[in-house]
Each structure stands twice: as structure tokens, then as C-alpha cells.
Amino acid sequence: DVKVTQSSRYLVKRTGEKVFLECVQDMDHENMFWYRQDPGLGLRLIYFSYDVKMKEKGDIPEGYSVSREKKERFSLILESASTNQTSMYLCASRYSGTRAEQYFGPGTRLTVT
């Protein structure tokens, strides 16, 4: 079974703080993704990485950056947290083959006050 873990389930941060969200997968997947989920908007892609040190912007990258130094770990960084970044953050991974299934972690509920 694929296991994707995220460093925190719940996080509360203050406006302007730098926030690190970490994601680790144990299946040697090449592709990793960061989404945020907001009511009525579904899941929106922030950034993704198709290999170590490789990254691409998703649909809503503003205010975020990412780091992938090792294959199993993909970090999302909020350089200066703002209240509109309060959301559920979901990490996913995928084997880069002919199937599109992504496997998700449990999510981090981030509140920025």
C-alpha cells in the first residue's frame, strides 16, 4: 500500500510567519503534488514535482514555493503567511507511468490568524 504522510494534521500560524509543510511518500514515486482544498472550489494544484530538484507551477502558485531535495520528500513553503492561505493542504504522489492515479496524504488544516 502506498503511504503518504504529512508532517502536521493541524497548524495555527500568525500572519507574516514562514510556514513549512512537509510530505513524505514511501513508494519511490517520481511525481509529487501539493493542492489546497477550499469549500466550493475543489482541489487546486499549487505546485508539482516530476523528479528530484524539478518543479513546476500549478494553477495557484502565488505566495508559495516548494523544495524537493530527496525523491521521497516534497515540502511546501509559505514565505509570509496570510489569512487567505487558511485552507486544507493536501500532498499527493504518483508513479510516472501510464496510469493517472495519485495517492493522497491525510492533509494539513492550516489556520493563519
Partner: protein, 115 residues
């Protein structure tokens, strides 16, 4: 520009009956479609998928139908059970052209199955 749309925010059905969740898409390059189920405070769980070369895929109580000419897919759950109550997301990918594995998600439909 919403490429994948789930126009029904919620659906309520009686236990034992059929649940039908719908999804429309606009991009004809999509060649792979998926359904995910999500409980509150958990990550989405992959449910079932279908390639664009097929029009139906079945897995136990779950069947996905794809109508490419209408750019429409649906998920049928028969019989519905109270444990099926969750948010369901459809997603689409253009694996054949990009192979980035990016998924475009719909807004989600909240299914409530009443005992």
C-alpha cells in the same frame, strides 16, 4: 475557466437505492478520468477510473460511465450505503499529451445516504 465541473453541490439518497453523481468537462484532450471519495479531515481516496477508450468501468458497487461526445461522466453507486456518505470529486488528466500526471478536479459533490 473551470475545465471540470460538478454542478450538483449535494445529493441525498436513501440507503439501498442508486446514487448517481455527475461530472462535465470541456477539454477534449483529457484521456483519463478518476473519481475520489473524501471524508472530513482525511485525504481523498482513489475510487475508480476510466480511460477515454472505454465507456464503462465497473468495480463492485461502483460503476463509472463516460460519454465522450457529451463530455460527461457519471459515477453510479448501487446499492448506496450510509458509509458512502462523503464528498466525491471527479478529476481528469491529459496523460497522453503531457504525462505530467496533473489532475484537474471538479468542485465536489457531497453525498448523504440516509438509513
Amino acid at each position: 475557466d473551470q475545465q471540470v465541473k460538478q454542478n450538483s453541490p449535494s445529493l441525498s439518497v436513501q440507503e439501498g437505492r442508486i446514487s448517481i453523481l455527475n461530472c462535465d468537462y470541456t477539454n477534449s484532450m483529457f484521456d483519463y478520468f478518476l473519481w475520489y471519495k473524501k471524508y472530513p479531515a482525511e485525504g481523498p481516496t482513489f475510487l475508480i477510473s476510466i480511460s477515454s477508450i472505454k465507456d464503462k468501468n465497473e468495480d463492485g458497487r461502483f460503476t463509472v460511465f463516460l460519454n465522450k461526445s457529451a463530455k460527461h461522466l457519471s459515477l453510479h453507486i448501487v446499492p448506496s450505503q450510509p458509509g458512502d456518505s462523503a464528498v466525491y470529486f471527479c478529476a481528469a488528466s491529459d496523460l497522453g499529451s503531457s504525462n505530467t500526471g496533473k489532475l484537474i478536479f471538479g468542485q465536489g459533490t457531497t453525498l448523504q445516504v440516509k438509513p
